[in-house]
C-alpha cells in the first residue's frame, strides 16, 4: 500500500465525484501522484461497471509506466485493479481507437506506423523533389549576390523548407485536411497563395509515399482517430461506455485535435451520450460520497453533468514549451480551466523558498510589467507555495546565497569556461563523500548545439558528462550489442570487429575482474588476427591460427585462452551461417546467444520486428544499412515507441556526483540539486525589443519573412470562410515573434524551477558580440539584488 499523504489541494481533488475538472498545477506539485490516487479511488469505490476502465492519458511513454507502478501501489492485491484502468499516451490511445477499425479510415489490417525519423526521410525526399523542379526565388532577398544565392539554395533552403514542410503538414493534419481537400480549397482560393501551394505539393508527395508503404505517421493516427469518432456514433458510444472517467496529465501540451478526441470520448458533445450517460454515473457515484463533500466539488458535479463528461485535466500552462513545431497551445487548457470547475494545485516540495520566490516573481513581472503587453499572458497564476509542515516531502531549507545571477559579460567561450570551472570545483568538493551524499547537477542550455559545446568543454577538463537522452541505458546497451554483432557480420573479415563481437558475447563478464582479465587477453589476441578466416573456419590442414602472444605466456593461462577461443569459434560459425536468414530471424538467433535478461530478449524480439519492417520497406538494404539503422536506435536518435516498460525515463538520482548536460526543453519534469542555466541572452530569449533577432527570420529571405509562419498563415486563410481573414504578407511573421517571446518566457520559468537547492544563471554576448542579457534575466537580477526580501 502507498503511504501517500494528500496535501490540502490534493485532498480537495480527491473529493471529486464526477464531471469536468481543471487543475492548474505548479512544477513539482505531484500531478502523477494525484491522478493515480484519483484513479485508485474510482476503482476501489466500485464506480466502474462491467468492462469499464478509467482512462489515463499522458504525454510520454515513460509516464505510462510511472502511472502503472503508482496505481498498483494503492492496492494490496494488484489483481483488484487488473484491467480496471488503461494508461495511454495520446498517440497510444489514438492507435487503440484506429486499430479497432482501420478499414473505415482506409487502412489495412497491419498498417505500420513510421516514427519521426523515418517520416523525416520521406519528407526530406519530398522537399528535394520540390526544389528540383521549382524555385523559391520570389522569396529570396533580391539583394543577394549570385554566388551567395547559389550557396543559400544549396545549403540553406533544404533545411528551411524541411521545417516549413513539417509545420505545414502537421498543421494541415491537425485541421483534418487531406491533400485532396486542401487541393480543392486551393483551387477555389481567390488570391494566389504560393507558400500554401508549396506546402500542398510537399504534403501530397509525402502522403503518397506513406500510402505506398502502407504506413501512417503519428499525426495521422490522431487525425484518423478523430475522424473515426466523428463519423461513427455507435463506436463512439461504445468507447464512451468503456471509459466513463478520463484523467489527463500534462494537458497543457494538447492540441485542438487531441482535445477534441478526449472531449468526444468523455461524452462532451451534445446529443452523443450513449450507454455511458454521465448523469447516471454521477448520481450513482454520489451514493458513495454522502459526507465531506465540499461545495466546490459539488458544483463540479452538478454544473457539468449536463455537459456529459467525467474529464479531469491536470497541467501547468506555464510549462508549455516546445522544441519543434506543434499545434499544441497552453491557451486551450487555460480556457478549459476558466470555463469549468477548477482546483489549483499550488503546493510543491521541490525547491527551496528562494527559488520559489524567484519563479513567482517571474510570473508577477510577466503578468503585470512585461513591456510587450501582449506577452503578459505567457505565464499565469497560481504561484508556487511550499508544502505544509507535516508533508513528508519538505522543501529544502531556505538559502538565498545559493542563487547566483552572474552579471559578467562573457563571450560564449568565456561562459563555457566559467561554468565548466565552477562545475569542476563543485564536484571536486564532494569527491570524498559517499555517493548518496553527492549532489545531482545539471547544465541546461537553450539549444542542442550549445549543449554539444558544453559537453566538449567538460571533456577537455576531464569531466565526463551525462548526456540526457530519453531511453534508458539498458535499451541502448542491448541495441548497441546487437549492432556490434551485425556490424561484424557485415564485415566478417575484420579482426577488430570480431574482437568487439567477442566482447559483446561475454558482456556478462564485465562485472567479474578475474574473467575480465581473460576477456581482455582473448580480445587482444583476436584483435591481432591477420587472417580471420583461419580462425573462423580453419582449413583442416592449416596450422593453428593462434598467434604466440606475449603476455599470456603462462601455460595455464594460455590453455584458458585457447579454450575460450574454441568456444567462441563455435558461436561465430553459427552466426556466420545465420547471415543469410531474413533479418528478423538473424537478430533473434544472435539475441539467444548473447542475452540472458528477459527484458533484453524482449527488446531483441521487438527490434527484430522493427528491422524486418525496415528491410521490407527498403528492399535494397543489406546488412550495412540495417546495421546503421540499428546503430541509430542504439544511440537513441529515434524514439522507440511501444516498449514502454523498458523505457522508464531518465532519473537524475541515478547520476549523483556527475553532471548532466541537456536542453531546457528536455529537462521538463526533472529536478536537480544544482542547476546552471546558460546563454540566457536576448538572442536565445528575445523579448521583441528593438535589436532583438529571431532565429526563424532568415537573412536571405526578403523582408526577413518567417516563411514557416507565413505558410501557416496562408493555410489558415485557405481554411477560413470569413472574408476578413485574408492573407497579408508579413503579419504572421510579426505574430510569430510574439509566440516565440512567450514560449521563451515559459522556457526560462521551466529552467528556474528545475533547481531544488542552487541556481546559477549566466549569459553571453553571442556569436556577433552584441547580445545582451535577456530582459527577464535583467529583471530578476535587479529584483534579486534590490527588492527581494
Amino acid at each position: 500500500m502507498t503511504n501517500f499523504t494528500p496535501r490540502p489541494s490534493q485532498q480537495q481533488i480527491l473529493r471529486y465525484t464526477g464531471g469536468r475538472l481543471g487543475i492548474a498545477a505548479v512544477p513539482g506539485a505531484g500531478k502523477t501522484q494525484i491522478l493515480s490516487a484519483l484513479a485508485a479511488k474510482i476503482i476501489r469505490e466500485g464506480w466502474l461497471g462491467d468492462d469499464q476502465e478509467v482512462l489515463i492519458v499522458t504525454l510520454v511513454n515513460s509516464a505510462v509506466d510511472n502511472f502503472e507502478a503508482r496505481i498498483k501501489k494503492f492496492f494490496d492485491n494488484p489483481l483488484q485493479a487488473l484491467y480496471k484502468y488503461r494508461v495511454r499516451t495520446l498517440h497510444g490511445l489514438a492507435h487503440d481507437i484506429v486499430r479497432e477499425k482501420p478499414a473505415r479510415v482506409g487502412l489495412e489490417e497491419r498498417f505500420s506506423i513510421i516514427d519521426e525519423r523515418e517520416a523525416g526521410f520521406i519528407r526530406r525526399d519530398a522537399v528535394n523533389a520540390w526544389l528540383a523542379s521549382n524555385s523559391l526565388d520570389d522569396y529570396l532577398d533580391p539583394a543577394l549576390e549570385d554566388s551567395k544565392r547559389d550557396w543559400v539554395k544549396r545549403e540553406q533552403l533544404p533545411d528551411l523548407l524541411d521545417s516549413l514542410a513539417l509545420a505545414f503538414i502537421r498543421s494541415a493534419k491537425d485541421r483534418l485536411l487531406t491533400p485532396e481537400s486542401l487541393r480543392a480549397k486551393l483551387d477555389t482560393s481567390p488570391a494566389p497563395l504560393p507558400l500554401a501551394e508549396l506546402g500542398w505539393s510537399i504534403y501530397a508527395d509525402y502522403q503518397r509515399a506513406l500510402a505506398y508503404r502502407g504506413a501512417v505517421d503519428f499525426d495521422d493516427l490522431i487525425r484518423l482517430a478523430l475522424t473515426l469518432l466523428e463519423t461513427d456514433e455507435e463506436y463512439l458510444a461504445r468507447l464512451q461506455y468503456r471509459y466513463p472517467f478520463i484523467l489527463e496529465d500534462e494537458a497543457q501540451d494538447s492540441s485542438l485535435t487531441q482535445e477534441r478526441i478526449l472531449s468526444l470520448l468523455s461524452g462532451g458533445s451534445a446529443g452523443r451520450v450513449g450507454r455511458g450517460d454521465s448523469r447516471d454515473r454521477t448520481e450513482t457515484s454520489g451514493l458513495h460520497e454522502t459526507a465531506g463533500f465540499d461545495a466546490l466539488a459539488a458544483s463540479a458535479r452538478y454544473s457539468t453533468s449536463n455537459l456529459g463528461g467525467n474529464w479531469v485535466r491536470v497541467g501547468d500552462p506555464n510549462q508549455a514549451i516546445f522544441e519543434t513545431f506543434t499545434t499544441a497551445s497552453p491557451d486551450l487548457l487555460r480556457a478549459f480551466i476558466e470555463s469549468n470547475p477548477s482546483i489549483p494545485m499550488p503546493e510543491s516540495g521541490r525547491s527551496q523558498p528562494s527559488i520559489i520566490a524567484i519563479a513567482n516573481h517571474l510570473i508577477d513581472w510577466v503578468m503585470t510589467s512585461h513591456p510587450v503587453p501582449a506577452a503578459r499572458t505567457a505565464l499565469s497564476l497560481p504561484h508556487i507555495e511550499p508544502v505544509p509542515a507535516d508533508d513528508p516531502q519538505q522543501n529544502p531549507p531556505d538559502n538565498p546565497e545559493a542563487i547566483k545571477f552572474i552579471p559578467t559579460k562573457f563571450t560564449p567561450e568565456q561562459e563555457l569556461e566559467a561554468v565548466v570551472k565552477s562545475v569542476k570545483n563543485y564536484l571536486d568538493s564532494f569527491a570524498e563523500r559517499p555517493i548518496e551524499e553527492q549532489p545531482t547537477v545539471a547544465i541546461l542550455v537553450p539549444r542542442n548545439q550549445r549543449g554539444v559545446e558544453v559537453v566538449n568543454a567538460l571533456r577537455q577538463r576531464g569531466i565526463e558528462p551525462i548526456e540526457l537522452i530519453s531511453s534508458t541505458s539498458e535499451t541502448r546497451a542491448a541495441a548497441g550489442s546487437l549492432s556490434h554483432l551485425l556490424s561484424y557480420l557485415a564485415d566478417p573479415g575484420s579482426a577488430k570487429k570480431l574482437a568487439k563481437a567477442y566482447e559483446v558475447w561475454r558482456r556478462d563478464w564485465r562485472e567479474d575482474s578475474e574473467k575480465m582479465a581473460l576477456l581482455s587477453d582473448v580480445e587482444r589476441v583476436l584483435r591481432k588476427i591477420g587472417k580471420v578466416e583461419e580462425y573462423v573456419s580453419p582449413h583442416p590442414a592449416a596450422n593453428s591460427p593462434l598467434p604466440q602472444e606475449e603476455g599470456v605466456g603462462v601455460r595455464e593461462e594460455m590453455e584458458r585462452v585457447i579454450e575460450e577461443f574454441n568456444a567462441f569459434r563455435v558461436v561465430v560459425q553459427r552466426w556466420l551461417n545465420a547471415v543469410t536468414l531474413p533479418i528478423d530471424q538473424l537478430i533473434l538467433t544472435l539475441a539467444q546467444d548473447v542475452f540472458t535478461e528477459a527484458s533484453d530478449l524482449a527488446l531483441a524480439h521487438k527490434l527484430a520486428l522493427v528491422l524486418r519492417q525496415a528491410a521490407d520497406d527498403h528492399p535494397d538494404w543489406r546488412l550495412p544499412e540495417l546495421t546503421a539503422e540499428l546503430a541509430v536506435i542504439a544511440k537513441n536518435e529515434r524514439r522507440f515507441i511501444g516498449f514502454s516498460s523498458n523505457d522508464s525515463g531518465f532519473d537524475p538520482e541515478y547520476y549523483r556526483g556527475r553532471v548532466v548536460v541537456t536542453t531546457m526543453h528536455k529537462a521538463k519534469g526533472l529536478e536537480w540539486d544544482r542547476v546552471y542555466l546558460m546563454s540566457v541572452n536576448n538572442y536565445d530569449f528575445p523579448s521583441n525589443m528593438p535589436g532583438d533577432r529571431f532565429i526563424s527570420e532568415k537573412w536571405f529571405i526578403r523582408g526577413g519573412l518567417n516563411l514557416e509562419a507565413e505558410a501557416l498563415a496562408q493555410l489558415t486563410a485557405l481554411e477560413s470562410t470569413s472574408e476578413y481573414d485574408w492573407y497579408e504578407e508579413g503579419t504572421a511573421t510579426l505574430r510569430s515573434r510574439l509566440d516565440y517571446v512567450k514560449e521563451r518566457l515559459r522556457l526560462f520559468y521551466v529552467g528556474i524551477t528545475r533547481a531544488k537547492r542552487e541556481l546559477i544563471v549566466t549569459w553571453n554576448t553571442g556569436r556577433q558580440g552584441d547580445a545582451t542579457p535577456s530582459l527577464p534575466l535583467s529583471e530578476l537580477m535587479g529584483w534579486w539584488e534590490n527588492d527581494a526580501e
Binding site: L210, T231, A598, H605, R612
Partner: protein, 712 residues
Amino acid sequence: MPSPSTSLRTSLSLLQRQIVESPLDRKLFLSGPAGCGKTTVAVERMRHLLAQGVPGEEILLLTPQRSLQEPYLDLLYSPERSAGGEVTPATFGGLARRMCDLFWSLAAEAAGFAHPDQPPVFLTLETAQYYMAHLVRPLLDAGYFESVTIDRNRLYSQIIDNLNKAAVIGFPHTEIGARLDAAYFGDPAQRRVYADAQDCANRFRQYCLDHNLLDFSLQFEIFTNILWEHNIVRDYLMRTYRHLIYDNVEEDVPRAHDILREWLPSFDSALLIYDESAGFRYFLGADVHTGWALRELCDEHVRLQESFVMSESVAGLSDSLAKAILPNFESDVNSQGVSDSLEIVSRHFYPELLDAVVDEIEQLVSAPGIPPSEIVILAPYLSDALRFSITNRLDARKIPWRSHRPSRSLRDEPASHALITLAALAHPHWGIHPPKFDVAYALMQSIDGLDLVRAQLLTEIVYRQRDLRLSAFDEIKQEVQDRITFSVGNRYSILRDWLLAYRESDPLSLDHFFRKLFGEVLSQPGFGYHRNFDSVRVAASLVESVKKFRQSLEATFNETLTADPLPNLGREYIQMLQDGVIASSYVEAWQSEEKDAVLVAPAHTFLMMNRPVTVQFWLDVGSSGWYERLSQPLTHPYVLARGWKTGTQWTDADDVQYGKEALARLVSGLLHRCRERVYVCLSELGESGFEQRGELLRAFQKVLSMSGFKET
C-alpha cells in the same frame, strides 16, 4: 497393435454404424458439433462403399478446401486398398477448373473470350496478381485509391478477392462497388475507393477476356453460369459420379451449394456432413445458411451430439467461455470444473512466455508423456519472428515440431535468393546488378566449404558490380589464393566458367536456366546443393513458380492475342519477386514431414486440419486478432455475403456482434478439438511491447471469476 482404422471401426456407436451401412440409394445429411465423429463416419462410409463394390471412379469426394481431405486420403492411399478405380477428391473450384479445361469449346465464346479458338490460360494466384499489378499500377499513378493507405500487393489481392467473392456468392462482378458503397457511411472521402476498386475489377475482367486468361473467378463463373447449364456437361458429371461424400458443407460457398441443389437428386447415394459449430471460412465467402438448406434435399437428417473428444471439463470450459462472450448463449453447464482443463501461463515479457511454454511442453512429452503430435501451439497470427522463436526453442529441447505456416516466401529463402543472384550474373542484359553482399552470399551458398569470410574476400576481389565482371581465380594474388584455398578456387572457377559460357550462348528461359545450372553445376559434388535437401526443395519450388509464370505469359503474349512484344520473362519475374507481387509463391507448405510432432500454427489453420489433440497452448490470449476480422479497406466479407440486405449500412453494432460470434465460434471450434487441457498463455507486454487486453482475455477473466479460480 491394431491399425487405427480397425480400432475405430469397432468403437463406432450404433447410430454411426447405421449411417455407415445405410443402403446405397440413401442420401443422408449428417450434422453435429466438431468431435462427434462425423468425419470418422464418412471415412468409414467410403470404405463401406468400396467394400460393397462401388467402383472408386463413381465416388466424388467434395470438400471446400484440400486440407480437409486428409482423413480420406489416408484411407485411399493406405496399403490395404487394393487397386481399382480412383475416387475423385475435389474442391468445387478444382472441379470448375477441370470442366473449363475439358469443355473450353463450349464456354469460350459464350463467356465472351476474344479468341475462343485459342486454348485457355489458367492463372494461379500469383500470375493473377502479376496481371492485376500490370493493369492497376498506371492507375495508381493517375490518382486511384488515394485515400487508402495500403501495401500495393494487398491492394491487388483485395481486388482479386472481390472478383472471387462475386463468383462464389453469385452476383455480377459489376455490382461489387455499389454493394460496398451502399453499406458504407462515414468519411465521404473514403467512398471513392469503391468506385476505383470496381473500375479495376472491370478492367481486369476485360483483360482476361481479351487474352484468354482464366483466373479463379472466371473459372468459377464459367462453370456455374455457363457450363452447368449445358446438358453435355451435366450428363457427363451426373453419369460419372454416382455417389457423393461432401464434408464440411458449412465451409463451402453459396454457388457450390446452388449447383449441388440441382445435382444432388441425380446421385444414387450421398452423405453430406455439416459441422454445426463451424463456419470459419466466411471471409472466403463460405455460407452456412445455404449449406444448411441442403438438408432439405436429403432423405434423412441425422444428428450426432456426443463429443468423443472433449473431456467433461473441456466441454464445461467451452460453454462457459461461450457464455462469457455471448451473454445470451444458452447453456446449463456447471462452470465449477473448468479449472481442471485450464492452465494459465503468465509472464511479463514475451520471450519469457515462450520459454515457459516450451518448458511446459518438455514436461508434457517426457515420460509418461503425451506424444508431441497431441500438442499444438496456436496463435491468432504467427509472425515469422514468433514462429522462428518457438521452433528454435523446441529444437533446443529436441522436441519435434511441424509448422503449417510457410515460414518464408521465395523472396526470403536464402537458397532461392542465391539462385536469383546467379541468374542476374548470367544475364548481364537484364541490367540487374546485384550488390557484393548478394554475390558473396550466393557464392557461399553455391560452393561447398566456402565460409562467409572467404566468400566476401573472394567477392571483393573478383566481382565488379558496375559491369558484372567476374575475374578468374588465377588472376588474383597467390597469397590471397592461399587464403581462399584452392579447393574453393577450383569450384569457383567451374561456376565462373559455366556462367561465362552461358553468357555467350543463346539465353534460355529462366526455369530452364535454373534447371541447367542446377543439373550441371550446383547439384554436383563440391557444390552447395549437392547434399542440402532443403535447398533442393526450395530450388524446385522456384523452378515451378517460374515455369507457371512463363507459361501464362507466353500464352498471353502470342501473336494472335496481342501486338505487344513478350517482356523479358526472367527479368520480369525477378522484379516481381523483389517487389513482392509474387511473394505469395511460398515454398511447399510442410516444413517438416515429421508426423509425431508438436504443431505450431495459426488457430484457423489448425481448425481447417480437422484433427483433435490432447493439449492446446493458446498464445497471445490478449490479442484482438482472435475475433477481429481482417481489416480490408476494399472488400468486406459480410457485406458481400449472400444474406446481406443490399443497402443496409454496416455499423459498429454489426462489428461488435459479428466479432463476438466469430470469437465464440472460434473458441468452440478449438475446444471441440481439445481432449484434455488448454494452456492460456499471456504476457503483459505482447510481441511488439504493447499491452494487450482483448475480448478473449476478458472472457477468460469472467470464466475464472465465476469458477472461483485462484491464480497461483
